[in-house]
């Protein structure tokens, strides 16, 4: 599955073998990427920066889902529910119990991870479609609870989450998007680096072994139960983080943000981005969340010539997302990540074919 990136690399030390990036090209791209990310908040207006922030949060959630679906082969339709667990936990702890927000967010990660393990128990006996339905069940149960349990929202139907702040410092309204950009970027970068490294450890490799063949994995000594539940816990931890960030970023938590459609959208993100790829999760989140605002900009631009586009915009936005996913399934099931690798390899040996 791993495509040779570059030939002629010989490791002469353990440190060089452990490096994530070996060639000069890779390092240069990383440098460019960091530069671009650093420049972004100064180039974009606050509207587009808010889109980028939404992408950052979604990327964290998508990495979580990819750990479960792409790396461990356990399909989950409970994403929306776990986002809700994270969001409600953090909002309740910080808003009602007065816990400092960073602690509340950390607690949300832990609580969601525990919730994930519970929801993952059926995975020990179920596979494929059956597991999909079981996780859909946990989505429905969580959605039901947050809609009906009035204590959660004090009967208002929604819950307010206090704005992000540490030790008396609060996010200021004027620099709201920019401050959040750095917070989200930090969280997403840490999350991505951690996830990337997990799959170089025994635990991470056991996830992939379970995905590739459960029986074979258990024959060579992988504890399948531990691997599956570990994957559910780790994945849900990420999702809980994304949920908690959503809560404090938007300031209001209500069930409407955590529906089945959200679960499906996240599944779309990792399919478009690339199952079993950390970078792909980020590409997928960016792609699917950029599509609607770009379409809306397009509809605005052609409003006079094609008013139909503007009139039916919300429906078109959803339909476009569906279409894109279908196209990916047909033409590049391994997603944007694979597409990128192919482009890179093509130019790497250009003008020769290999």
């Amino acid at each position: 599955m791993i495509v040779p990136l570059a030939t002629g690399i010989h490791h002469t030390s353990y440190a060089s073998e452990l490096a994530l990036r070996n060639t000069r090209g890779e390092k240069a791209r990383l440098g460019l990427g960091i530069l671009a990310l650093g420049a972004l908040p100064f180039l974009l207006d606050s509207y587009w920066l808010s889109v980028v922030n939404a992408i950052g949060i979604a990327a964290i959630g998508a990495i979580g889902l990819n750990i479960l679906v792409g790396f461990t082969g356990q399909i989950s339709l409970g994403q929306g529910g776990f986002l809700a667990v994270g969001a409600f936990t953090s909002a309740l702890l910080s808003g009602r119990a007065g816990v400092p927000i960073p602690v509340a967010i950390a607690a949300a990660v832990v609580v969601t991870a525990i919730g994930g393990v519970i929801a993952g128990l059926p995975a020990l006996r179920l596979k494929g479609l059956y597991l999909a339905i079981a996780t859909l069940g946990s989505q429905e149960i969580i959605e039901f609870v947050i809609r009906r349990w009035r204590w959660l929202t004090g009967g208002q139907g929604f819950l307010e989450a206090p704005p992000l702040g540490v030790l008396g410092w609060h996010v200021q309204r004027a620099t709201f998007e920019r401050t959040w950009y750095w917070v989200i970027l930090g969280a997403a970068a840490l999350g991505a680096a951690a996830a990337r490294n997990v799959f170089r450890t025994a635990l991470g490799r056991s996830f992939m072994a379970v995905r590739d063949h459960e029986v074979a994995a258990s024959t060579i000594g992988v504890n399948v139960t531990r691997a599956k539940l570990g994957a559910f816990a780790l994945s849900s931890g990420y999702v809980g983080l994304a949920g908690a960030l959503t809560a404090h970023y938007s300031g209001t938590v209500s069930w409407e943000r955590f529906t089945r459609e959200v679960s499906v959208l996240y599944l779309g993100m990792i399919i478009v981005g690339g199952l079993g790829s950390i970078a792909g999760s980020i590409y997928g989140a960016a792609f699917l969340l950029l599509l609607p605002p770009l379409l809306s900009a397009l509809a605005d631009a052609v409003r006079t010539t094609a008013p139909f586009l503007a009139d039916q915009l919300p429906a078109l936005q959803v339909a476009a997302v569906g279409l894109v996913i279908m196209l990916f399934l047909i033409f590049e099931p391994r997603g944007l990540d694979r597409l990128w690798r192919r482009v890179r390899d093509y130019f790497g040996s250009w003008p020769f074919r290999y």
Partner: protein
């Protein structure tokens, strides 16, 4: 395994995409005035409007939005606010909170001085944001929490709150049958929940002997027979509905089909011509609590709207009362803008807020009671009309009814 995942998600996505696009009606945009999407001249006043044209509440959201844009079209044709035209950015957010947030940020970026919102969910979600950005925000959501300037300093509510409407409904029910069982059917959202707890409290405060139980109406349900069975088991004589017209009409038809002896009391968002039209004969005899007079009531305030409609060649009666509601909500906002201009102050959010709080009560010619805000209260009005459906028409039973003191 991977194959299964692909297949399964493909199927799911197709389904959800179909569901989404299926809910949008193919209604044309015949009366969409030119106010929308025009490139602003530099001194235009920018207003942001959140509209639901294709979402869960589109049946009433579309005429409301058209009414707002029509008002602005009319105003701009007459020279705008002291010669400054109003450039309205109106986009469909399909009743989805994340969409509303996205549009809101876009409007702020475009330099909007005020926002006309729509639903309870998005008004709540944006409440702390408009406070931070100091942008006056009116909505078609009349939730109680939005009327308190201490909690929501930039939200303005032009009509009696849902809770007040519920109180009026309960007063009416108690007067007609003091020991009746009341079932509250509500939209499954913050909008639906808004008056539920206050209604229960009202019964306690007033010492009514009414029974009271609430039921959430599932979105997209094709019938509500199950809920009606529960209401029947409760012994309900009255069903107060806090939902939009189409699902309420379904309830009315189910009540008729099941031959149940129950009277529906619609609050604001299902008290309209659409309910009567969709429910047909099943609508007969039901009650409505509606703060905005329907065009058929022929109040003096309807004249200006009717003149505009005639000039544009459409029928105001067909557009219905939500068109008028949008028109006059925008009228209140425009009055605030005029006041800022008259005071010679720069047009900023805080100045507009002060103007709305200190301007004279807005007379709407009987369409809705004079709308009055103050620094202590953003509750624009407390009175609503009570109507009864008779012969396929909304017949006025009482006007300017307020909750019992």
């Amino acid at each position: 395994m991977t194959r299964t995942i692909y297949l399964f998600s493909a199927v799911l996505l197709t389904i959800s995409a179909c569901k989404q696009s299926g809910s949008s009606s193919g209604a044309g945009s015949e009366a969409r005035p030119a106010a929308e999407g025009k490139k602003p001249a530099s001194d235009d006043i920018v207003l942001g409007i959140l509209a639901d044209l294709t979402g869960a509440t589109a049946d009433v959201g579309k005429p409301y939005n058209e009414g707002m844009l029509a008002y602005l079209d009319n105003l701009n044709a007459q020279g705008g606010i002291k010669g400054r035209k109003i450039n309205a950015l109106s986009e469909d957010y399909a009743y989805k909170i994340p969409n509303a947030e996205e549009k809101y940020k876009k409007y702020v970026q475009a330099g909007a001085v005020a926002i006309q919102g729509w639903g309870t969910g998005d008004s709540e979600a944006l409440r702390s944001k408009v406070k931070g950005d100091e942008l006056p925000f009116m909505s078609a959501s009349y939730a109680e929490v939005l009327t308190d300037p201490k909690q929501s300093p930039y939200n303005f509510v032009v009509a009696p709150t849902y809770s007040d409407q519920m109180r009026i409904a309960l007063d009416r029910i108690a007067a007609s049958d003091p020991t009746a069982q009341v079932a509250v059917f509500h939209h499954d959202s913050p909008f639906g929940m808004a008056p539920v707890a206050d209604g229960e409290q009202w019964i306690k405060d007033r010492g009514y002997k009414l029974g009271y139980k609430d039921y959430a109406m599932k979105g997209g349900a094709t019938d509500h027979v199950g809920l009606l069975q529960q209401a029947k088991a409760q012994g309900a004589k009255f069903i107060v509905i806090q939902n939009v017209s189409s699902p309420a009409a379904t309830v009315a038809r189910d009540v008729a089909a099941q031959k149940l002896d129950m009277k529906i009391v619609c609050l604001n968002w299902c008290s309209d011509e659409l309910f009567v039209k969709l429910a047909g004969p099943a609508a007969e005899g039901h009650w409505m609590v509606q703060p905005f007079a329907p065009p058929t009531a022929g109040k003096p305030g309807h004249e200006s709207v009717r003149t505009y409609a005639k000039a544009k060649g459409f029928d105001l009666e067909a557009k219905g009362l939500h068109f008028v509601q949008g028109w006059y909500t925008m009228h209140v906002m425009a009055r605030g803008l005029e006041k800022v201009a008259a005071d010679g102050k720069p047009l900023t959010g805080p100045n507009l807020r002060t103007a709305l709080e200190t301007m004279d009560p807005v007379d709407t010619g009987g369409v809705i009671g004079p709308v009055r805000f103050s620094a202590d209260s953003h509750r624009g009005a407390t009175a609503a009309g009570i109507y009864k459906v008779e012969g396929g028409k909304m017949v006025e039973v009482a006007t300017a009814v307020t909750p019992q003191k």
